[in-house]
Subunit: 447 residues, 2 copies
């Protein structure tokens, strides 16, 4: 080990995550040096303004408002991008790689949109780009998918991967409050931003799913390939019925490979309450991966926040520094042997929960059942609820067997037109997570 | 990439796991070659007898009963040890490393007893030894601990790491059967061996804990350092009371670092039923790790079996082959900066569940409470149960606040001598898993 040299690190960004990483690099210097075999020096931090007061004490002379002071510094071997957002983050990452600096990033948008290209660029330049922190905060997810589950053919992944929405859904479920109240609470606690759209509409989860699905299915999955739908249509009633029926409601990011086609979607989902994923509450994240060798594997932990994210970023920095110290490149290139077709949402097949208000008179249910039957959708159970004598309306909840999404959409269009149907309150997709479905996909040892 | 070369693999052992790995290497050849960048060839398999019929179809000419045919073959770059047991496995591993072959092993006993030395030897020889499959079957655990949580100071780990005992405990809990019946069922299903001692006495879990604790606390933890006690003393009553009190009973492997001393122990444990670990049932394994940055992270999956274990072994083989192909060494050396004292079991502090039969007459409980009080043990709750009119005995269950093990043992010795105490039915340690206890150990961002 060469004890005399030191490896320089430049940070781009000193927000929540940047402050966490800076604090860890500064306060854990000796532990980190022991891991790497030489010291690591935080040389420069790019900030928007060098006069702002900050969560973490940083020497004023480390701060710069000029990114070239980092990208052009020959003593900086590792550039850590924690600015977030699309540009200029992408430009800076590309420039750092072109200058043969190792890059560590927590940027899900950039990695979702350009991950495969950036990994190729890194390989060409003889450096690495790592992005463990882009998905699941402090939970190791990218590494397992890239390296430790690589002998598997993954048939499915199910992820609770957005802490903001999981907090809101947990609150709605446990405290029977409505969406707005739960969102307000999340904002007060700092779990949701003032403009929460990216989280509650499923965009954030879609980015993360595209990153994970690309690794799991070994084919590029672009964020535009991901169908997403948020949690804003959920009501207290849906949670009440879900409980009655034995389900939790989660914003699930789902990836499946069925007959060599990939389906990737993010939406509110009924999850059977006896599965571990149904029990992941609050801001925690969890990802369930089903491989033909491992079977079901679940990774669980805090999916966001300064410290968990700093854990992943720092581990990536240590790995990059370790490679530099030993004169190695580190794993970089993504090996994506195939291009696989992406299923449109209309082609997926799943079970459904339907809630609708109907006129409280005999024979109505038969009309609805007939419309469903016409579209080859069979019903697994029905609950009729809460007749309202004054408005003469009743509410019915229908659970279906697996049906094609397109058929369901067509059936709903027809049902909505029935004069006796006042309103389709909600329809929510159901994941049965039955072991049966993937047990069949396991590797066969003997023939 | 050099497309012309091929990397030779030699297997030592063709039992359950060996057969799984052989089948995966033979049937996933093209996928594996794509990952590595060149073909991988299974060249030789060491067996005890080459005439036995086997679970997996293997060309007869691959089999050998002479280990030197593998260890002396210059075309074999990776030796995969899947024989299990202590020797000759250890000898073969050492010889392979000395001949500068990369080694992949699933051997928990060898890695628990000699891991640090073998990792050093590998480093010296310019090769790697990897052992992901030695703990937790198909769950990536070694890699996260070695690499992806390395920025953390780990304060505690809690592991359900033996599938046999977890199956037995789940069966005892859900079906209210006794230990012998549950064991028999485990044996019939192939989850327990004819001689189940290593599993039910906690030895297997102790090996795995010593491997994980060494990585988590960055100090060598030898298996002899681990206190272990099995599950054979548990009765149906203990499960009934546990449920009443809101707990599950699990064989927990526990590692903690408190004030720079390490405590490592394996024993039946009361786990609050609302924690995820309490919900890990059947042959599943789960490991909860608490880091100062990540907070609580949980890894869950199938902890044994041919396919999950083959998943980890094959991933290790692919990583070793990838390194060979690129002319790199791969991460090998363990960096264990400190020697840390190990606490004897008498020094630990925890809560306890006590169950005892006493004479059914007034004033008895006061005598017991006084003995506990004399030893500074305070009671958190008491249930008196099932007076038996004919024998004039009652059963009491006492839950205590945290107490020192030594005090508890001394108090129990005294209580046992009380003439009114017929029998101490059981005493079981309780883990509260309270976030409070480790939240205090988290990294502080700002001062």
């Amino acid at each position: 080990m060469k004890k005399d040299k030191s490896i320089g690190v430049g940070l781009l960004g000193l927000g929540v995550v940047g402050s966490g990483v800076a604090a860890v690099l500064l306060n854990k210097q000796s532990e980190i040096a022991q891991q790497i075999g030489c010291p690591l020096t935080l040389k420069k931090i790019l900030v928007r303004s060098s006069y702002k007061s900050r969560a973490v004490k940083v020497d004023q002379h480390l701060l710069t408002i000029d990114h070239q002071q980092i990208l052009n510094d020959p003593d900086i071997g590792i550039v850590v991008e924690l600015m977030g957002g699309y540009n200029p983050a992408l430009d800076y990452i590309e420039e750092a790689l072109r200058k043969s600096k190792h890059v560590v990033t927590a940027n899900k948008e950039v990695m979702a949109k350009h991950g495969a290209d950036l990994l190729c660029l890194a390989e060409t330049q003889g450096v690495s780009i790592s992005y463990e922190a882009s998905v699941g905060g402090g939970i190791p997810l990218i590494a397992p998918l890239r390296q430790y589950l690589v002998a598997n053919k993954v048939s499915a992944l199910y992820a609770i991967i957005n802490g903001t929405t999981n907090y809101i859904l947990t609150k709605m479920s446990k405290e029977s409050v409505n969406f707005q109240t739960a969102l307000k609470s999340a904002q007060e606690l700092g779990y949701a931003e003032a403009n929460p759209a990216n989280d509650i509409d499923g965009v954030d989860a879609a980015y993360k799913l595209s990153i994970m699905a690309t690794l799991a299915f070994q084919a590029v999955v672009h964020p535009d390939d991901v169908y997403y739908d948020g949690i804003t249509r959920l009501t207290e009633r849906d949670f009440r019925y879900a409980k009655e029926l034995g389900y939790a409601i989660k914003l699930l990011a789902i990836g499946k490979e069925i007959d060599d086609a990939i389906e990737v979607r993010v939406h509110s989902t009924f999850v059977p309450e006896d599965f571990l994923l149904a029990k992941v509450d609050g801001v925690y994240n969890a990802v369930q991966i089903e491989g033909d060798l491992t079977g079901k594997v679940i990774f669980y932990g805090e999916g966001a926040g300064a410290l968990p994210t700093a854990s992943s970023v720092t581990s990536d920095i240590i790995a990059a520094a370790y490679s530099i110290n030993l004169g190695r490149q580190g794993i970089s290139k993504l090996i994506l042997p195939q291009i696989k077709p992406i299923k449109p949402i209309s082609d997926i097949e799943t079970c459904y929960y339907l809630r609708m208000s109907i006129a409280d008179q005999p024979g109505i249910f038969a009309q609805i059942a007939q419309e469903l039957g016409t579209h080859s959708i069979s019903i697994s159970s029905v609950i009729q609820k809460e007749s309202d004598a004054t408005t003469k309306t009743a509410e019915i909840v229908i659970m279906t067997h697996p049906a094609r999404e397109q058929s369901m959409q067509q059936a709903l269009d027809r049902i909505q037109e029935l004069p006796v149907v006042k309103e389709i309150g909600n329809f929510i997709r159901v994941e049965t997570l039955e072991e049966d479905s993937w047990a069949k996909k396991r590797f066969v040892l003997a023939d």
